[in-house]
C-alpha cells in the first residue's frame, strides 16, 4: 500500500455571495498516495479547483482538516500558508502566471531563491530542469511575452519543480494551449511523475486525464467515484476505454 501524502477529514468549503452562502465542498474525506498522478475531474462548478486549492494551501477551507504529509494546514494563517506552499507545493496554472517583467530564468530563480540561499546550486538546478523540458539558453533569456504558450507552460513547470516540491498541483495546464503544445506539456508532467513526482491535476480534458493513474470524480462537492487506470503507457487504448466508461458512469 502506497504511503498517504495528503488526507482530508470532513473538508468543507463554502462561499458567501451577498447574503447567500454556497457550499462547494461537502464533508469531503479523501486520500492521496505517494507516486500517484491523480486527476480530479467533474463538470463545471463541481468543486474541482476549490478542492485543488484547498489541498495546496492556496485557500483555506471553511471547516475540516487537511493533513499534508506531517502538517495540518487547514488552520494556518495566510503567511504561514505562503511559507508552507513555497517549500512543499509546485503550481502549474492554466494561465501560466509567469511574471512578465523578468526573463524565464529569473521567473524560476525568483521562486528558487525564496527557499534556498544557495544560489549556485539553484541556478544549476534551474538550468538543468530547463534543458530537460526542452528550453534552451536562448529561450530562457527571453521574457514570457516573447515565447509561445507551450514554452511558457514548460517554464512554469520548471518553476513548480525548482524547490523539489512534495506535490505538483496543476490546474488545467493545457487549457490555454493548442494540442501540440498541450501534448508537450503533458509529456513533461508524465516524465516527472515517472521520476517519482507526486502530481494532482484538475482537468476536464480527456486527453489530459488519460495521463493520470488515478481519476477522482467530483459531483456537487462530493466524491462520486474513483478509477485506477495504472501507469500511463502511450497508445494504450484499454486505459482510454476504461476512462471513458468510468466517466460515462459518472454522468460526464
Amino acid at each position: 500500500m502506497s504511503k498517504i501524502i495528503l488526507k482530508t477529514n470532513k473538508l468543507n468549503k463554502s462561499f458567501k455571495s451577498g447574503t447567500q452562502e454556497q457550499q462547494v465542498l461537502k464533508n469531503l474525506d479523501i486520500e492521496f498516495y505517494e507516486g500517484d498522478y491523480t486527476v480530479i475531474m467533474g463538470s463545471s462548478g463541481a468543486g474541482k479547483s476549490t478542492l485543488l486549492y484547498a489541498l495546496s494551501g492556496m485557500d483555506r477551507p471553511t471547516s475540516g482538516a487537511i493533513r499534508f504529509f506531517d502538517a495540518e494546514i487547514a488552520d494556518l494563517n495566510n503567511d504561514k500558508l505562503a511559507v508552507f506552499r513555497r517549500k512543499n507545493c509546485g503550481f502549474v496554472f492554466q494561465q501560466m502566471f509567469l511574471l512578465d517583467n523578468m526573463s524565464i530564468l529569473d521567473n524560476i530563480l525568483a521562486s528558487g531563491l525564496l527557499v534556498s540561499g544557495d544560489k549556485k546550486s539553484i541556478v544549476a538546478n534551474a538550468k538543468e530542469l530547463l534543458e530537460k523540458v526542452g528550453l534552451t539558453e536562448m529561450i530562457w533569456r527571453k521574457f514570457p511575452t516573447q515565447l509561445s504558450g507551450g514554452e511558457n507552460q514548460r517554464a512554469a513547470i520548471v518553476r513548480a519543480l525548482i524547490n523539489k516540491p512534495r506535490v505538483v498541483f496543476a490546474d488545467e495546464p493545457t487549457g490555454a494551449l493548442n494540442s501540440a503544445a498541450g501534448n508537450s506539456v503533458l509529456d513533461v508532467l508524465t516524465e516527472i511523475n515517472n521520476d517519482g513526482q507526486n502530481i494532482i491535476m484538475v482537468t476536464h480534458d480527456l486527453r489530459s486525464a488519460r495521463r493520470g493513474n488515478r481519476i477522482i470524480y467530483i459531483k456537487d462537492g462530493v466524491i462520486s467515484g474513483e478509477c485506477v487506470l495504472g501507469k500511463y503507457v502511450s497508445g494504450d487504448k484499454s486505459r482510454h476505454d476504461k476512462l471513458k466508461a468510468f466517466l460515462s458512469e459518472m454522468g460526464w
Binding site: 511559507v83 496554472f93 525568483a110 525564496l114
Partner: protein, 808 residues
C-alpha cells in the same frame, strides 16, 4: 419623412454621455481622485492666498497712503535743536514743497505686552490738532474720550491684546532722578497712520485728547521730551538725506544712530519709502514665498496628474478599445478624460480658493503683528478667477499632451490588450548574477523597469525636500541659533552701548568700563554721515575692524590701512564700483580718495553705507570725537542689570545714555523671528503633507497596477511582509535619491535664494547657518518617513489573494 434630432440636441446628448464616462471613471478610482482633489485644494489655497497678498496687500498700503495723504517724509526734531534757523532752512529748502508741523511729547516707556514688559518709543500727540497732510484715522470701534483716554495704534490690540476700556500703563524711568514712574491711560480706540503705527521704525503714536495731552506734558515736564514733527512733501523723496544732512550741519550733529544718541538732540528722519519697506517687507517676502511654494505644489500636482492619466489609459485600454470599436472618436474619448480631470481639478481648486479666504485673516494677523496694518480682504473675484483659470488651463494642457496617443490607438489591438502588455527590452538585475538578498534584487529590478515613474518621484522629492530644507534652515536660524538672523539688518551686535560725552576725556571711563564685571570687550563704533561720490551715505567709523564681532563683509575685507573703504553692496551697485576701484569720500569741504577693499551686507540707510577707519574720518571731520562705546558681555550676562550698574557708576556728565542692546535686538527681531520661524514650520509641514499625498497616490496606484504580479508572487510563496518590503524598498530608492539631491540643493542654495529675496534690504549675501546635523537629520527623517509610509500604504497587499488571482 424621417424626423431627425436637431444638431444641438445631438451634441448635448453626446456631451452628456462623455460626462457620464468622466463621472464613472472618477467613481471607479475614488481614492486616487480624492488624493488629486486634495492636492489641487492645497495648490489653489496657496496660489490664491499668495496672489491676493501680492496684489492686494501691496496696493492696500498705497491706498492707505493716498487716503491719509501721507507726506514724503517727516523730521522729528527735538525742541532743543528746533531753532528758527532750522525752521527756516526747512521752509525755504528748494526741495520742500509743503510742510506741516505738530508738537509731540516723546517718551521711551515699557508697556506690558502678552505678559512681558516691552520698550516702545512713544510719541504723544494731540488728537485735536488739525492736519492737512499725514492724517490719521480710527480703526474699528472707538469710544468717546474721557480723562486720561488714549487712542492707540491697532498693533497694541493685535499683538498686545489691549481691548476697549482696558488700562494701559506706561512705565518709564526719570533720567535725572532715576525714579521709576508710570502713567496709566484708558484705551478708547485704535488708530492707523502711515508713519506712527508700527513698532519697527521711528516713533509709535499715542493720540490723546487735548486736556489729557496737556496733563501728560505737565507730568513728563522735560524739555528733552518735546519734539516737533515736521511733515514734508518734496520734489523727490530721494532728497530727504540731503535735507537731513543740512539740518545736522546747522545744529552740528555728527551721529545718526537712533539708539545711541542723547535724546535731547536725537533727530529722527523717516521717509515714506523706508516706512513702506519696513511695514510691507515681511508681507512681501512671505507672499512671494507663498506664491513660489504654490507654484511648486502645482508642478507636483501636474506631474501626478500626468502620471495618473498615463496609468489610467493603460489600465483602461480595453475599455478605450471597446469605446472606439462602437464608434467613439479619439476626440470624444480625450474630451471625457479632459472632463474627468477638469472636474477633479475644478472641485479641488474651488474648495482651495474658498478655504483661502478664512485662512487669509490668519495670514493678515501675522502681517498685522509686524506691520501694524490691519488688512481685511474680502472676496476678490478677479484674483480668484485668475487663480482658478491658471490651474484649469494648465491641467487642460497636461491632459491634452498626456492623452494624445489615444489618437493612434487601434481598437482591435486595444481590445486584445496587446498594447497593455509592456514590451520589456532589458532584463535588469539578472537574479543569476545579482548580489544581495532576493527582495532587494527584485526591488532594484522594479526601480529600473519603472524608470519614468521613479524619475517623477525623485523630481518631486527633490523639489519638496529642497523647500523642506529651506524651512528647516529658517526655523533653525530663528529659533535655535539666531546669530545669523540677528546679523541680517547689518548692525554690529553687542550687548550694551554706552554713549559718552565727546567733549570729555573718555580714556579713564573706557578703562573702568572695560574692567567691570562680565565685560569681555569694548570698542568704539560710531555712525556718521558723509558723502561718497556726492551721495549722502551713513558711515561706520571704527579704530580697528579686526575686533569687530559681526562680520558683514562678503567679498574682500574691512579697511586696515589708510584710505581704505568697504562699501555696502547696494551702494557699490549704485556707484558701479567694485574692489580695487577708487571713490571720493567727503565731509563738508574736505574730500579724499579711498580704495575699495571690501563689499558688505547692511541695510542702514537703505543699503547706502560704508565702513572707514576713524583716523581717516578724523582727517575729513576735524571735530569728530568717539561717542558710542560698544560693550560685549560674557555669555549669559543680564544686559539690563549691566546697564543699571553702568548708570549707577557714571554720572550723566560723562555717560549721556546707556542702551540695553540685547533688549532692543530682542524686541526688534521678535516679530520677524516668530513670523519666519512659523513660515519655516509651515513649509516643513506642507513638505511632509505633499510627500505623504504623492507617495500615497503613487504607491496605491502601483499596488493596483501590480495586482496580478503580486498575486503570482503570493501564489509561489512570498509572504505579505516580503512583498510590502520589496515594494517599499523599490520606492525608497528613488525617494532617497530625490531626498539626497534636494537636501544638498537646499543646503547650498538657501543662502543664495535668501540673498536674492533680501537684496533690497541690503543683504547681498545671506549667511544663514546651515547646520549639517539638522539638515542631514531632516533628509534622513524624510527617507525613513517615506519608507515607513510606504510600508503602511502597501499593507493593503494583504488583501490581494493568490486564490482570487488564480480563480478570476
Amino acid at each position: 419623412m424621417i424626423n431627425s434630432k436637431p444638431s444641438c440636441l445631438k451634441w448635448g446628448g453626446k456631451v452628456k454621455k462623455l460626462w457620464m464616462h468622466a463621472i464613472a471613471n472618477i467613481r471607479k478610482s475614488k481614492s486616487s481622485s480624492t488624493t488629486l482633489v486634495i492636492m489641487f485644494l492645497v495648490a489653489a489655497l496657496l496660489l490664491n492666498s499668495g496672489l491676493l497678498v501680492v496684489i492686494n496687500y501691496g496696493s492696500y498700503f498705497s491706498n492707505l497712503k493716498q487716503e491719509l495723504k501721507s507726506s514724503d517724509a517727516y523730521f522729528a526734531i527735538p525742541d532743543k535743536i528746533y531753532t528758527d534757523k532750522v525752521k527756516t532752512y526747512i521752509d525755504k529748502n528748494e526741495h520742500v514743497k509743503q510742510t506741516q508741523t505738530l508738537e509731540g511729547v516723546v517718551l521711551e516707556a515699557d508697556i506690558l505686552s502678552k505678559g512681558e514688559e516691552k520698550s516702545f518709543p512713544i510719541m504723544f500727540t494731540n488728537i485735536e490738532e488739525k492736519r492737512e497732510i499725514s492724517k490719521w484715522k480710527y480703526v474699528g470701534e472707538h469710544l468717546p474720550s474721557e480723562d486720561m483716554s488714549v487712542y492707540i495704534p491697532d498693533i497694541f490690540k493685535a499683538v498686545s491684546g489691549y481691548q476697549l476700556n482696558d488700562k494701559i500703563k506706561l512705565n518709564y524711568k526719570d533720567k535725572e532722578t532715576k525714579e521709576e514712574k508710570a502713567i496709566t491711560f484708558t484705551v478708547k480706540g485704535y488708530t492707523e497712520d502711515v508713519y506712527f503705527s508700527s513698532t519697527d521704525t521711528g516713533y509709535i503714536s499715542f493720540y490723546l485728547p487735548q486736556d489729557t495731552y496737556q496733563k501728560v506734558k505737565g507730568i513728563i515736564n522735560k524739555p528733552e521730551n518735546i519734539t516737533h514733527v515736521v511733515f514734508t512733501n518734496l520734489d523727490n523723496v530721494k532728497n530727504v538725506p540731503s535735507i537731513e544732512n543740512g539740518i545736522r550741519d546747522l545744529v552740528d550733529l555728527n551721529s545718526a544712530s537712533l539708539m545711541a544718541a542723547d535724546p535731547s538732540t536725537r533727530l529722527v528722519v523717516i521717509d515714506v519709502e523706508l516706512i513702506q519697506l519696513a511695514r510691507c517687507m515681511m508681507a512681501t517676502m512671505i507672499s512671494a514665498m507663498m506664491v513660489m511654494f504654490a507654484i511648486i505644489i502645482v508642478i507636483v500636482c501636474l506631474l501626478v496628474v500626468r502620471y495618473r492619466i498615463i496609468n489610467s489609459i493603460e489600465e483602461d485600454i480595453m475599455k478605450i478599445g471597446s469605446l472606439k470599436s462602437v464608434g467613439y472618436t479619439s476626440r470624444q474619448i480625450i474630451l471625457s478624460i479632459i472632463l474627468q480631470f477638469s472636474l477633479i481639478a475644478g472641485i479641488g481648486s474651488l474648495i482651495g480658493i474658498a478655504l483661502s479666504y478664512p485662512v487669509l485673516p490668519v495670514v493678515s494677523t501675522v502681517f498685522e503683528q509686524q506691520s501694524g496694518l490691519k488688512w481685511e480682504q474680502g472676496f476678490d473675484a478677479g484674483v480668484s478667477g485668475v487663480a482658478f483659470l491658471i490651474l484649469l488651463v494648465i491641467v487642460l494642457m497636461i491632459v491634452l499632451i498626456a492623452a494624445r496617443h489615444i489618437r493612434k490607438l487601434n481598437p482591435i489591438n486595444a481590445l486584445r490588450g496587446e498594447t497593455t502588455a509592456r514590451k520589456y527590452k532589458r532584463n535588469h538585475i539578472q537574479l543569476e548574477k545579482a548580489h544581495g538578498n532576493l527582495p532587494i534584487a527584485l526591488a532594484l529590478k522594479s526601480v529600473l523597469q519603472n524608470i519614468k515613474q521613479n524619475v517623477m518621484i525623485s523630481v518631486i522629492l527633490i523639489i519638496v525636500t529642497f523647500f523642506g530644507v529651506f524651512g528647516v534652515i529658517m526655523y533653525y536660524n530663528t529659533t535655535i541659533d539666531t546669530k545669523a538672523f540677528a546679523e541680517v539688518p547689518g548692525m554690529e551686535i553687542c550687548n550694551a552701548i554706552a554713549v559718552l560725552n565727546p567733549e570729555k576725556d573718555q580714556l579713564e571711563t573706557v578703562k573702568k568700563i572695560e574692567k567691570m564685571d562680565h565685560v569681555r570687550k569694548v570698542q568704539y563704533l560710531d555712525e556718521v554721515k558723509v558723502k561718497v561720490e556726492g551721495m549722502e551715505v551713513a558711515a561706520y567709523v571704527m579704530d580697528k575692524y579686526d575686533k569687530k564681532e559681526t562680520k558683514l563683509v562678503y567679498e574682500g575685507r574691512y579697511p586696515k590701512d589708510n584710505n581704505e573703504i568697504t562699501l555696502a553692496g547696494i551702494l557699490a551697485g549704485r556707484l558701479n564700483k567694485s574692489i580695487g576701484d577708487t571713490v571720493t569720500v567727503g565731509f563738508g569741504e574736505n574730500k579724499e580718495h579711498f580704495k575699495v577693499v571690501g563689499l558688505s551686507n547692511g541695510s542702514q540707510m537703505g543699503g547706502l553705507n560704508i565702513s572707514i577707519l576713524a583716523k581717516d574720518y578724523k582727517r575729513l571731520n576735524y571735530n569728530f570725537k568717539h561717542q558710542s562705546l560698544y560693550i560685549y558681555l560674557e555669555k549669559g550676562t543680564d544686559a539690563a542689570q549691566f546697564v543699571t550698574d553702568l548708570e549707577n557708576k557714571f554720572d550723566k556728565s560723562m555717560l549721556l545714555t546707556a542702551v540695553n542692546f540685547d533688549k532692543g535686538m530682542e524686541e526688534g527681531m521678535a516679530s520677524y523671528q516668530k513670523i519666519v520661524a512659523a513660515m519655516g514650520l509651515v513649509m516643513l509641514v506642507i513638505t511632509l503633507f505633499v510627500v505623504t499625498l504623492v507617495l500615497y497616490f503613487v504607491i496605491s496606484s502601483s499596488v493596483i497596477r501590480k495586482k496580478r504580479e503580486l498575486g503570482i508572487q503570493k501564489a509561489i510563496g512570498f509572504t505579505t511582509y516580503q512583498l510590502m518590503n520589496q515594494l517599499s524598498i523599490s520606492f525608497t530608492i528613488p525617494i532617497t535619491i530625490g531626498a539626497v539631491i534636494g537636501t544638498l540643493l537646499g543646503a547650498f542654495y538657501t543662502n543664495p535664494m535668501m540673498s536674492l529675496s533680501m537684496k533690497s534690504m541690503g543683504v547681498m549675501k545671506a549667511g544663514f547657518i546651515v547646520d549639517p546635523y539638522w539638515i542631514i537629520s531632516f533628509g534622513v527623517a524624510t527617507i525613513v518617513f517615506s519608507y515607513l509610509l510606504s510600508m503602511v500604504i502597501t499593507w493593503r497587499i494583504r488583501k490581494i489573494s493568490a486564490y482570487a488571482l488564480v480563480t478570476e
